[in-house]
Symmetry: D5
Subunit: 122 residues, 10 copies
Amino acid sequence: MPQPELLEFFDAPTETPFLIEHVNEEFTSVCPKTGHPDFGTITLRYVPGAVCVELKSLKLYCQSFRNEGIFYEAVTNRIRDDLSEAMSPKWLQIITDWKGRGGIRSRIIASYGDVPTEWRRG
Amino acid sequence: MPQPELLEFFDAPTETPFLIEHVNEEFTSVCPKTGHPDFGTITLRYVPGAVCVELKSLKLYCQSFRNEGIFYEAVTNRIRDDLSEAMSPKWLQIITDWKGRGGIRSRIIASYGDVPTEWRRG
Amino acid sequence: MPQPELLEFFDAPTETPFLIEHVNEEFTSVCPKTGHPDFGTITLRYVPGAVCVELKSLKLYCQSFRNEGIFYEAVTNRIRDDLSEAMSPKWLQIITDWKGRGGIRSRIIASYGDVPTEWRRG
Amino acid sequence: MPQPELLEFFDAPTETPFLIEHVNEEFTSVCPKTGHPDFGTITLRYVPGAVCVELKSLKLYCQSFRNEGIFYEAVTNRIRDDLSEAMSPKWLQIITDWKGRGGIRSRIIASYGDVPTEWRRG
Amino acid sequence: MPQPELLEFFDAPTETPFLIEHVNEEFTSVCPKTGHPDFGTITLRYVPGAVCVELKSLKLYCQSFRNEGIFYEAVTNRIRDDLSEAMSPKWLQIITDWKGRGGIRSRIIASYGDVPTEWRRG
Amino acid sequence: MPQPELLEFFDAPTETPFLIEHVNEEFTSVCPKTGHPDFGTITLRYVPGAVCVELKSLKLYCQSFRNEGIFYEAVTNRIRDDLSEAMSPKWLQIITDWKGRGGIRSRIIASYGDVPTEWRRG
Amino acid sequence: MPQPELLEFFDAPTETPFLIEHVNEEFTSVCPKTGHPDFGTITLRYVPGAVCVELKSLKLYCQSFRNEGIFYEAVTNRIRDDLSEAMSPKWLQIITDWKGRGGIRSRIIASYGDVPTEWRRG
Amino acid sequence: MPQPELLEFFDAPTETPFLIEHVNEEFTSVCPKTGHPDFGTITLRYVPGAVCVELKSLKLYCQSFRNEGIFYEAVTNRIRDDLSEAMSPKWLQIITDWKGRGGIRSRIIASYGDVPTEWRRG
Amino acid sequence: MPQPELLEFFDAPTETPFLIEHVNEEFTSVCPKTGHPDFGTITLRYVPGAVCVELKSLKLYCQSFRNEGIFYEAVTNRIRDDLSEAMSPKWLQIITDWKGRGGIRSRIIASYGDVPTEWRRG
Amino acid sequence: MPQPELLEFFDAPTETPFLIEHVNEEFTSVCPKTGHPDFGTITLRYVPGAVCVELKSLKLYCQSFRNEGIFYEAVTNRIRDDLSEAMSPKWLQIITDWKGRGGIRSRIIASYGDVPTEWRRG
């Protein structure tokens, strides 16, 4: 079961806005319809508010989906919600890329907040 | 014959707009002029309204073009129409990429609705 | 000699604007200065008006440059002019990419009309 | 149904052994178990005997598998048998590469005759 | 727990030796030392004896390692043993490729039997 | 310890704004939490004010992080601060790309000043 | 010594604005500090005014830097100045990409004039 | 018409065997069956005897096929024969790679003489 | 200082020979001549005798070169010697790939023992 | 003028044979026929005898060809001769790769001595 309580945070090193991207290529959950495992890549991009997410805790949080039966779309929105709630970022985006099922591969993108002006040319 | 009635849908997991992309690299139809098969990749990108398209039904719908004699341009617009009619998305885009014919490869792009503002930096 | 009269057209399948791209990687003409053959790729991108260009006729039109002595810049503008005159598209762009001569490779881009608003995020 | 009678041949241009490879990236047949289409690439490599296979007839022969229910392994051996029987090559090899099914992609290789000594360093 | 009893087989379509390769890019097991999941790609290459392994059963067999605590080297030798015992191939090779741990990525190769002479130039 | 005093500068060759990008693929520091080395790529992009940074001094400055225990986010902001303070550029951007830790790779982007209008299409 | 007098020009084939890009991957000059040769790629992009630069003369002009001791930044601005002065383009951009020195590779971009509106979506 | 009389040669700089490879990516001839142009890459590999082929003359010889109606297999054997006859190499190999026709791309390999022992590990 | 005493081993899971490859892309030492850091990739390939090297201990052993002044050639032979002495493999090979210095990149390969016959086709 | 007297050597760190490869991507000389510069990559592979070549001296030796008018074939054999004479390696191979001239790119390979048996599987 997804465990947002695993997430840990540390103080952002500066109040000046900056962009952070973490890419986890080792994500797996279970298709609730077929029971077969799904494999994907989770990309988290955000502009921190007061805190940044600690890397190892992010990894453990992602691992907590391992035996969860959950659709692509729900995984993506769930991670967006858990992370934006826990760390109140200025902006946050979750991109999930899923390996093919029946010849079809998928990408889901969910966002929180507006891209700050200074990142529009990032 | 294209069979939009094969398409199935499920409720979108959230009302907050998010982006979904499905890429089907295993599409084939038949050239109505020469009778030779055409091979292509179909990319569907959309921001769901009330519903999302179910993956296996999308695959079966794509397979229903297999022995249909239909031009590239018509395939693209047909899929755009079938999907936008059946699920009333906030935005939808169909991109088809076709392997070469006589040394020429092609891409067709058809859209429905405006890209929501929050995706302009997606 | 370039023969625009080889071009054939068919009715666009819809009045809703959509984008078409054809890439011909097998183009050759002759350098008017040295007499040596030039090899390039011709990319045609357009939003159709009333008609679309038929693929085989586009191939034959491109082949009609085979023994023509003509500079890169003139090839590009000539194709832009021939195609935009013959099919009155809403927008059209010709991109030519040329293999190296004396260690220098080149790209020329010529356009007709404005990119329709709906394609600015294509 | 596979139709080897579609295959046509022309006289090899020389008696000196040489190697020919044709790669058809547009092959499709049907899985006899699930009824879903399979998509693959067929590679034919051979040292001709008296005759070479004509390209367009090879394409039509490959198209004759389009609606045939047949396993990967059987496709590969069938093509090996049809071609080696029809043209008695000095050596022939069929390599089939199949897009993923359930996250597994496959390659099958079947041969006829010994590689002639002069090609061992090819 | 690895379940070789999930494996199913079908009769080889010919007695003439030929080569089969299946690549499963969606493999995961658990590191017995750290408890963290490992992610890898399993490649099976073999020359069949009397039978071939059925693809879906191979997938299910691979999935049975999902929550097993087992080292890279043991996974590779275990699959080699399970498959060679169950189907008595003329030759079999298991290649496992593992994503990085602490900046180190790994590949393990285990074989059964000798490569038949006709495949030495495969 | 990071030593900004190693940085040397030379006069910009022109007052007309232009863009400079230096990419250092050989950066290493130490994780303050685990004591293990981190490996990354540092990209510096800037529009010079009165001075440009001298390449060899930039290399030595980067080497001064070699045995420093410091987080990704702090490295990025520290370099942004050291360089923008020392050379008062019109615009400056630091992009750091870090090899995977526990299956997660990261990128951090920090900027100083606004992108000048003439570079918005760069 | 850079010799802009080597540059030759021909009349633009049309008054309608279009874009030209030449990429010279065979550029070398000498580092004025160390005396070692520098190797780079020079990209010239421009919208012609009345004239276009002739390719062979552009090559000879680039070769005239071969034994010149000159910094990256100065090469880039010098070519921008020589070419914009000699042919009064509507817009011109010089991008230089330099192979690594001490583990650091560099790119310099210098422009002349504003990008014409019609190219903003090019 | 192929013109081997265009070929020029110069004395090999040493009697010690060495290997030379020239790759011409700009080859075109005409299909004798359809009249459409064929596009290919010609690779010449050889161990010289007394002479080496001069590069510009090789280019002109290749250009002499431009309007010749000739099959892939015949082009390859013709070049092998013309070059081996004209320069009596110790070993020579012609590899031709042809862009796709009807979805099928081809490679033909023709050789002259045995690979000298010292090159077997080249 | 290189610390082979950091290396730990575990029993090989089988007496049947198999091949193990570990690739460490995060290696750094110091050039004894210039004092500048060197960055490289270390590849270890071996057929185990009684024991296999434990991954985390291999990583720590590699890290012990971090501040050692040592040439490429000596690093490679040192690792070959330390590992072959400590674990008496049936065969072992060290490949080191070094990023460029002054425009020159390098690879060094050192081996221990003969490749077992069964791996000659690996 | 090529200056082999620039080459410096150091004692091989072991008498056990091992393989060294240096790749210099920044080589330029002058075509003696046209006076235009040639650009290439020089690869040196050798098994040392008593000595190894020092990297910086190898770079300076390569730079001594910068303004020399010399053919591809002669460059390759000259470097083979200079290096094998100066350091009596157990085996040595020079591979030169040249950027295209008139659409033709070239590779020349010259060797000295036999590949030692232990490297035949390298």
